[in-house]
Every structure is written in structure tokens, then in C-alpha cells.
Amino acid sequence: MGVWEIAFLSIAYLGILFLLAFWAEKKKAQNKSLINNPLIYALSLAIYCSAWTYYGSVGQITSNGLSFLSVYLGPTLVMILAWGFVRKMVRIAKIHNITNIADFISTRYGKDSRIGLGVTLISLFAGIPYIGLQLKAIAQSFDLITQSTPSATFYQDPSFLLFISLTLFILVLGPRRFDSSEKHEGMIFTIAMESIIKLVAFLAIGIYISYQIYQGWEGTLQLHTISLPSIETNGGYGNWFIQFILCGIAFLFLPRVFHVAVVEIGEEENLKQASWIFPLYMLLINIFVIPLGIAGYALLNSSGLNSDLYVLGLPIHFHSKLLAFIVYLGGFSAASGMVIMETMAISSMISNNLIMPLLLRQKGFFSDNQNQLGSINQNIRRIMIVVIMILGYVHYRETESLVNLVSVGMTSFVIVAQFAPATILGIYWKKASRQGALTGILTGFIISAALLFLPNLGISTDVFRIEGLNPVSNATYWSITFNVLALYAVSITSKQNGKDANQSYLFVDVFEYSKNIENSTIWRGKARLRDLRQALSGFIGKINTEQRLKQIAKANNLSLSETYADPILVTQTEKILAGFVGSTSARLIISAISKEEQIGMSEVILLLQKSRDLQASNAELVKIDAQKNEFLTTVTHEIRSPITSIRSLSEIMVEHEDISQEERKTFLETIIQESDRLSRLVNQVLDLEKLAAGKVNFDMHSVDLGAVIEKAMMNFTAIAQQNQVGIQVDVSQKRTQRQIHGDFEKLVQVIINLLSNAIKNVEPSKGIIQVRLYENATHICIDVEDNGIGIDPKYHDQIFEKFKQVDNPNRKIDSSGLGLSISKKIIEMHQGTIHLESSLGHGAKFILKLPIQKTA
């Protein structure tokens, strides 16, 4: 195909992507987000698969065999097994309004600007060759499909036009609203679409070669008896395993992946499903790597084509123009997607952690430019995008033939993997300190860079070479080991300062505190409201500023008419600013407009715990309130019954003068009984409240339980006779040998309560109640057993609660519903226990156990 044809189609493709982005932004404006779902989220994660995966895996097959699998399995396993870790990062980033990995790490370590800067520079260092690699892939595939040779001067090179278009594309879609709370809807949507295109293209060529040209997957393998280098011959499993671990840990710390995975995620829930959709994507895009590699080697090796271009070389070899174009487009998608997100992420890091802090530290800069900080920030990012693109392009032009796709990719991985220890330990280990993190990252970076690049300059590093490891695995091994050791050793020997320690709590315990972190403030100082307004409106405009401040004020019951702003407003303002300029710069802006007082760590933790405890005790109060309400409802209901009969019977006697003497007597007796019941109820309620409040005095003496039963029986025999219930007292040793320590009268009350219960549960004339007294080594026990209707075991637990008369079967076991609660409280005050053995239809047995008094 012609040069201008392909150039035009490529630019048209970018145009279509741009329209899609525009459409997605419009949908978002109508509140119909296209990206806040697991599918688009998982597809956007596939930004991990750059041109390296697309072209490079196949190129590697014949030289490195199955080692490409480590690149695929690492991230797959991270998403399947460690999605809890990703979720924690997502939650932290959301709470602190973090928009890139440099901000993430520096925020964890007390917003240390050195760490932010270090991570930024290292990311840039690792990112430039990686971006160059993508540009190289675009240019090479362009040259191959157009059958042209690259021009010696770059401006005569047609692929330069693509480079310009891509840069413009990023500038237009990119730094418009870089507040993480307003996502890059359009950009993420195009990234997801590109992920679909590259998958479809790769599957298309895979299916074409495996099924159209050869008879299936195995046919391809059989046709060309090429023996692939096995893992054993290619460095062995040690190498393979280290690379696999490397890809897993580097995955999330690649600036572009961090951005889509952590910053642009809609809802945390998307992670759950993405944890299988993304691995599925990875499986699909790798499924035809082997047949394509073998076919490419068999058919194209002799032509001298770079093995990294086999994927595109194959359809050209078979003269399939359409397929060749589709494959080219897939590769273009893979490369451009990576470039778009990577430049965006790195430019935001540079702006937040390098340039803005530099500017803000200039005397007078802040006060002179307060109102334009937003647009200054945006322009810095734009300039940085152009700078990064140019650096990437220069890198590709100057080092074009030096290295293949995979080794550049792997080098970048080793370098960004240096962020892993500080991040992972930072969110699980509170003691990880800023000095430790800084030392770890720098140590790891220096070791990895030295081992990877010194050999290129002719300096041997073989002294450090471990037998059997290739350079990448070797560098990974040494750098990560020393990174972790340095982080650990420095962290346990250095002392964290207040801010460092504060953040460690906020990160490590994010799920415990997240609600409180959002609502509470951990800042103390003085800032004028007017200054806050001005600082904010420089970024989000006057109208938005007023809206946001009003929201915050309303949510926290604050006034916006004071001269000095409430600390909550200051904290929230800083958080909003952090979304634009990162935590380091936001801190600088806030300190420029306020006088801050240091708060120690213990104070912060205390504040957080206090607000958490308040929440807890609030919930407790609500519960108690509900119980109180229920209690009151039941008490009033219980009181209404006797009042009803008293009133009704009295009215009868007032209005009907003709009633018989006998009836009058019955009515009056009933009124007296009901009045008694009423006063008993009132007394019991009061007793219970006093017991619960611990206001009852127990008159403790040595008590003989035999005597207690006797006293209770004395009060009770008459009632039992009235109800025609037989009571048998089986006191085998009328007096027990030993005694207990207790309040005689209170214990009598308990026995009476149990007996009255029993009497209500048995049928008149058939009822038998047995009382037994016996002792074992440690306790004296009393059983009160009846032969009544029994109580279903499922109610046994609640029977001792206030007013829990078992409602089904609708039988009142406890006349007022309070007797058993009171009894239980009294027994507990004696360090004893009371429990129930019963089942429906088989009577009920209450068993009291009271500890025997120790004889002195």
C-alpha cells in the first residue's frame, strides 16, 4: 500500500478515536458514563499490552521460547490473586485525590517532595526509551506495510507525520481537567476501544494463519519442525520465575497502568469483575503467539525480516492487503495507546513534583500568579507532553538498531519495579519511613541501572553475575533485594517524623479509617477564607469554587462568612488542589496562604480514633434508644390491661346500681387484684432499672439455700392451692452442708419468680411443680421444674430478656415479662448462673447454680 494512503488512513483512525472520545465526554456530561463499568475498566487495563506484546512476543518465540509467558502471567496473577491490594491502592488514591504513582508514594511518606521528585525522574528515565520503543514500532510497521525505507532526515520521513498527529491528539484530549474526581472519560474510552482493535487484529491474523493457511494450531507446529528453545535451555526456571515476578510487580507501577487502574477507575466494584475479564483478555491476545512465531520464522526468516515484525510480515507474505492493514492498525493502536497514557501520566508527575514545586518556591511567584495557577499548570503539562514525545522520538531515531523491542521493555520493567517495595510495604507496614523509602528506591535504581547499562558502555559487571541468570533477571534480583533491605534497615533505625507517621496510619488502615479520613481534619492552623477562595478559583473558576466551598460547608455545618477558614475547609481545599497539582504542590500552595501549627502523630491518631469511637458509640446509642423504646411500648401495653379492667369494672358499679351483692364483691376483688398487679409491675420496672444501673444494695451474708426455699414456699402455698397445683419440694438434705454468700431476701424473690412462672405454665389441677436442692463440689444448685407446656428451645436465649414473653405459642410465661430478667440479674450479682432446660410439651426446668462460699 502507498505511503500517503497509509499515512492518511492512520490519521483518519486517530480522527475516529477523537470523535469517540468526544462522544464519550458528551455522554458523561449527560451523566451516562460509558467507562464506569467492569468491561471498559478491564479493557483499559489492557493498555499494559503495548507494541512490545503485540509485535515483540512473536518476535521472541524463536529466540527465547516460552519466556513471553512470564510477561503475560505476571499481571494476570496480580489481577486474580492480588486484587485486594489494588483495591487498597484505589481507596487510598481516592481519599487523597492522588493522580499518579509519584504522588502516591510521596503522599504515603509524609508528602516528602524528594521522594515525589525521585519517583518522577526515575519514571521519566524508564519511560523515554519505552515511548521511543512504541514510536519505533509505529515507524517500522509503517515502513514495512508501505514497503518504504526510513528516510535519513526525520522531516522527510512520512512516519514523522504520524508522530506529529499523535502528539496533537494527546494535547487536545489530554490536560484539560486533571482533577481525579473528574475522570478523563474520553481518553479512557478511546484506550478501551484501542484495546479491542488490537485484540481483534491479533486474533484475525492468528486465525488466518492457523486455520486458513495451516490446518489448525497443531498443524502449524507440525508443519515446521522447529524446536523452540525450552525454558530449561533458555536460562532455566530461575530466570523465568524472576521475570514472572518482575512482570507482576512492575505491572501496577508502570505510570500508564497505575493511571488507568487506580486513578481512572469508576467504582471500586469494577475491580471484582475486571479480575477475570482482564486475565481472559491476556489469554486471548497470547493464544496465537506460538503458531505465529513459528510460521513467521519458517516463512520469513530467510527474507532477513526483523523477527519483531513477523506478525505484520505474514499477511504481506500472503498478499492479503486488508489483513495487513488490520494488523498494522492493531499495532498502531497498541503503540499509540501506550504513548498517550504514558506521556499523560509522566507529564503530570513532572508538573506536580518538579516544575510546580520549583515555581511555587520562587519568592513572589504564588502571589503574582494566584489567579492563573490552573492554566499555568495546564500549560506546563502540555509543554512536558511535547518534550517527552520529542525525547522519545529522538531516542528512537538515535538508538534505532541497538536493541530489540523486548529488552527495552524489560529494562523499563526492572526500573519501575523499584517503586514496588516502598509502595507495598508502605500500605501494609506502618513503620516504613520516608528515609527508608528514599534510600530503598535510590539504591534499587542505582543497582538496576548500573547492571543494565554499564555493559552497554563496555564496563563489565560480571562480578555480580549470578550463575545461570540473564542480565534482566540478574539486575532484578540484586536491585529488588537491596531495595527491600535498605528500606527495611533504614526504616527500623530512623525515626519517623509526625507527618510521615500520620500518613502511614492513613494508608495502612485506610479501610478502617476511610470514612473518618474524609470527614475529619488533621490540620491545624490559620488561613483566611478569602485566600482559600482565590487559590481554588485559580484552578476551578469562581463559580465552581463557590459551589465546592458551599458543599463542604454544608456537609460540615460551617459558616462561610468568617474571616478565617475552618481547618476542615483548609484540608478539603488542599485535597482538591492535590487533584490538580499533586500533593507536594498542593502543600506548598496551602502553606503559602496559611500559618500552620504542627500536630504530632499521637494527636492525629487520637483524633481519628475519637471520631471512629464517636461513630461507634453513636451506633450504640441508637441501639439503646431502640431498646428503650421497645421497653416503653411494652411497659405501657402491660399497664393498659389492668387499667382497662379497673376502669371498666368501676364504671359498671357506678352506672348499674342494680347489680347483685355477689357480683359487686367479685368485681371489687378483681379491681383490688388488678391494682396489685399494677403496683407489682411498677415495682418490677423500678427494680430492674435499679439493678441495671447497679443502684441496688445487696445485703450479703452467709445464706442457707434450704431456708430460702422454705421462705419462698411459705409465701406461695396459698397461691398454689388456689390454682390446684401440687408443689413437691425435694430437698434431699434439707439443709445443705455448705452455704453460699448472698442476699437472703433477693434470693427468695428469685425462687418466688420461678414458682409463679411455673404456675402459669401448668394446667390447673394437673400441674406439678418440683423444687430440688443439691450440691456438687463447687456449687449449690436449685431446680424448679414443672410439667407444663414447655418452651421451644429456639426461645431459650431470649426468655431472660425484658418482656420477651415467648409469643408463639402465645402463652405468657412470665406474667409481667420482667420476673425472669430480674431473677437473672440477681443471680448474676451472686456470680451464679441460671439456665433453662425445656422443649415444647415436656415441661420446663430452670436450674440455678450458686458458688459455694469458701470457708476461711
Binding site: T636, H637, R640, S641, P642, I643, T644, S645, I646, R647, S648, L649, E651, I652, E655, H656, I659, E663, T666, F667, T670, Q673, E674, D807, P809, N810, R811, K812
Partner: protein, 123 residues
């Protein structure tokens, strides 16, 4: 008129029994839901006065069973209950009550309302 009164409070049963008898009605009394249903099936009273919180079968259950007994038999049901919240009263009417009288009640008021219901029933 034939009236059934069911309540697990003997004292209340006593006074209601007296009041209804004085009005010249024929009265049956029950101490729980089960007894009430047996009596209803046997006697088919025109008016049924029910407490709600009763042993074995509660007032709602008795009301529903009575109403579903026979198509030709449509008794008037009166709940007399200590459950006096707005929502309880609403529920009572939803369960098919013709009248809901909160406890404690005034005798005169109760008698008047039941007589009115009886008149309405006759027409």
C-alpha cells in the same frame, strides 16, 4: 344478638360479659384464640369481640378464620386492644375489623359503638 368475646385477661372478659349481657345479648366467652374459633364454628355469633394479643391464635388469626368460615356467614369483628398506635389500628382494619376500640375504653362509648354496629348489621 349473639356475641362472642375473646380475651386472655379474665378481668376484662368479666366486665365485657356483664356489659353485653345487660344489653340483652347472648354472650359466649373464650380465653384464647383456639377456644374462640371452636365457639365461632359452633355458635356462629353475629358479632365477635377480640383481643389481639392472645395465646395460641392471636386476634388477627381468629378474625381471618372467622371471615373465611362460610360464604353465608359474615360476622362483624371488633378488636379491643392495648395496641393503640396509629399503625396498629390501621393494621386491624386491614385484617378485616369492622371496629377498633383502644384499651382502656369507656363502657358507655363501647356499648354505644357496638349497638350502632348492630343496627348497621341489621339493615
Amino acid at each position: 344478638m349473639r356475641i362472642l368475646i375473646a380475651d386472655d385477661e379474665p378481668a376484662i372478659l368479666m366486665s365485657l360479659d356483664f356489659l353485653m349481657r345487660k344489653e340483652g345479648h347472648q354472650v359466649f366467652v373464650a380465653r384464647d384464640g383456639e377456644e374462640a374459633i371452636q365457639l365461632i364454628e359452633k355458635e356462629l355469633p353475629e358479632v365477635i369481640i377480640l383481643d389481639i394479643m392472645m395465646p395460641k391464635i392471636d386476634g388477627y388469626g381468629v378474625c381471618q378464620q372467622a371471615k373465611a368460615l362460610k360464604t353465608t356467614y359474615q360476622p362483624a369483628v371488633v378488636f379491643i386492644s392495648a395496641k393503640i398506635a396509629e399503625s396498629d389500628i390501621e393494621k386491624g382494619y386491614e385484617m378485616g375489623a369492622d371496629l377498633y376500640i383502644p384499651k382502656p375504653f369507656s363502657n358507655r362509648d363501647l356499648v354505644k359503638k357496638i349497638n350502632e354496629l348492630y343496627e348497621k348489621l341489621k339493615n
